[in-house]
């Protein structure tokens, strides 16, 4: 057990070091797009969006939850990228030739991606605060948002890692990633509530786990505990099922790739 802690810490430390050495390229590509959604999209639609439809004090406060979960989505889906490069340049082979538990590499990646995601959620909430949006449920609510975000992130990171281990080239990986990301956002309650969607989009959005997470995060920001708690309960059930499915698939892909 002590040995595994040593392994996971060392591997996580490597991800942190890498990030700290390419902070400009990485941090900005990860945080920036999501912030832009909040700042530009939020302000653009501040007047255009009907508060009767979005059921929020204003569009910015409605969008905040969506942008938080979009950040989780992007980070999660990109979570396997570094492993993909490790696989392609042989570094993974070097790691796998050492007497480590096979799961340590995966665990280190989860730890790292979750930590980054957590920080980015706080950044998003901080920027939203600057635009006058503060969480109705306070610190405890923010803590719960972090928990929901990380639970969703675990499943997404598993999908990403499974893809990293399965694809033949990184071109494939990025095509699938680009293909997945936007529909996941549009076919969810991130930008518009489900009731305001055309029927067919509503249908897909209903089966998108992202919708359920957003619908739990949103009342934590704009409503309060009494409205949020039932939603959070449903989201937790959805997330446990989603994570179980993703982890199972991820474990299979990992086993097939590295034995």
């Amino acid at each position: 057990m002590n040995e595994q802690i040593q392994e996971v810490l060392a591997l996580t430390n490597r991800w942190v070091k890498r990030l700290s050495r390419e902070k400009f390229s990485m941090l900005f590509t990860l945080i920036q797009p999501m912030l832009f959604w909040l700042i530009f999209f939020g302000n653009l639609f501040q007047r255009a969006a009907d508060v009767q439809v979005v059921q929020a004090p204003n569009y910015m406060s409605f969008l905040a939850a969506g942008v938080v979960v979009m950040t989780v989505l992007n980070n999660g889906l990109a979570g396997g990228v570094d492993l993909l490069f490790d696989k392609e340049n042989g570094f993974l082979e070097r790691l796998m030739a050492t007497p480590i538990r096979r799961s340590s590499v995966i665990l280190s990646r989860f730890l790292f991606v979750m930590a980054i995601t957590g920080m980015q959620i706080l950044v998003i909430l901080g920027v939203a605060f600057l635009f006058g949006v503060s969480a109705e449920t306070g610190i405890m609510g923010i803590a719960l948002i972090l928990v929901l975000g990380m639970l969703f992130g675990i499943g997404l990171t598993s999908i990403s890692m499974a893809m990293a281990f399965s694809v033949k080239s990184h071109g494939d990986f990025f095509s699938v990633l680009g293909f997945l990301s936007l529909p996941m956002i549009f076919l969810s309650s991130a930008l518009v509530p489900l009731v305001a969607m055309p029927g067919w989009m509503q249908f897909f959005a209903f089966f998108n786990p992202m919708t359920w997470v957003i619908d739990a995060v949103r009342p934590l920001i704009i409503s309060g505990w009494s409205e949020a708690l039932p939603q959070v309960g449903i989201a937790l059930v959805v997330l446990v099922a989603f994570d179980a499915l993703c982890l199972y698939g991820g474990a299979k892909a990992f086993k097939r790739s590295v034995g």
């Binding site: 040995e3 040593q6 392994e7 810490l9 060392a10 591997l11 430390n13 490597r14 070091k17 890498r18 050495r21 390419e22 340049n89 042989g90 570094f91 082979e93 070097r94 790691l95 796998m96 030739a97 050492t98 007497p99 480590i100 590295v258 034995g259």
Partner: protein, 324 residues
Amino acid sequence: MSAPAAIEVTNLNKTYDTVDAVKNLSLTVQHGEIFGLLGPNGAGKSTTLRILITTLSPTTGTATILGHDVVKEADTVRRLIGYVAQERAIDRFLTGREHLLLLADLYHLKKDEALARIETLLKLVNLEEHADRVAKGYSGGMKRKLDIACGLLPNPKILFLDEPTLGLDVQSRLNIWDHVRKLKEQGMTIVMTTNYLDEADQLCDRIAIIDRGEIRAIGSPKDLKASLGGDGIWLTLSDATPEALEQLTSALQGLPFVRGIRPRENGLDIRVDGPEKALPAIMETTNKIGCLLDGIEYHRPRLDDVFVAHTGRSLTNEPAPPEA
């Protein structure tokens, strides 16, 4: 029962989809030798190496390292071996020292032991000066040195090197060879893949020539070359009449070190064990029977000749098929 061999591979097969990367491969590596897997890209030598370092499982067959099965006792095997990866398997964002610190944790070394060992290794491979620079700026030679330090970090019983001098300049190459020889002197068993003939020839105690997933020949470079029939001495006669050739052939045939005589254009191709005794004796014989020589050439068989003899093609000229 004697102690297990360093490496024992029995009927190893590895199939990717429908491609047989390794076919029925068996070999034994003795303690303390440098064993080379020689072959073109895609021949199956990397696949074999990856099975031995436990990062790939064989389809059928077994391999043991110091008596431990690479599949069933993979964790034990990993604690006994060191792996010198190809140069591109370097994290360009980490410094040399950070690579070693990371690996030290993966081998579960205690902090002070790790620091001491890393200091020694950096000194050994002569990389102290650059240890705290990010690897992005390393030259090919420096990356290889770091690779070797990484491979040696666990104090392995057996060291595996994957194409250790691929793409290096001559100076760095000789440098790496020196390191490998020193490790052998210290009693380490070394297994390496290479597609350089001269590397296999000069560095390896024994080599396995692998082509299309199969072992074509196995032995020391010297024996493999000798199996071609020994060194060649080519005589060109001034007056190469059939009678003169006949006479010379029968005169030479009885000499003890002559292993075979074949006619060639205007002369003879004489296969001998070595040139030292053979050359003077051949000269003496030609003088005795009054045979005038126009020229005399001495040829040592090269490893490339061995390769051609066993695979039907030259390693140096064949365009490399894509790696499986």
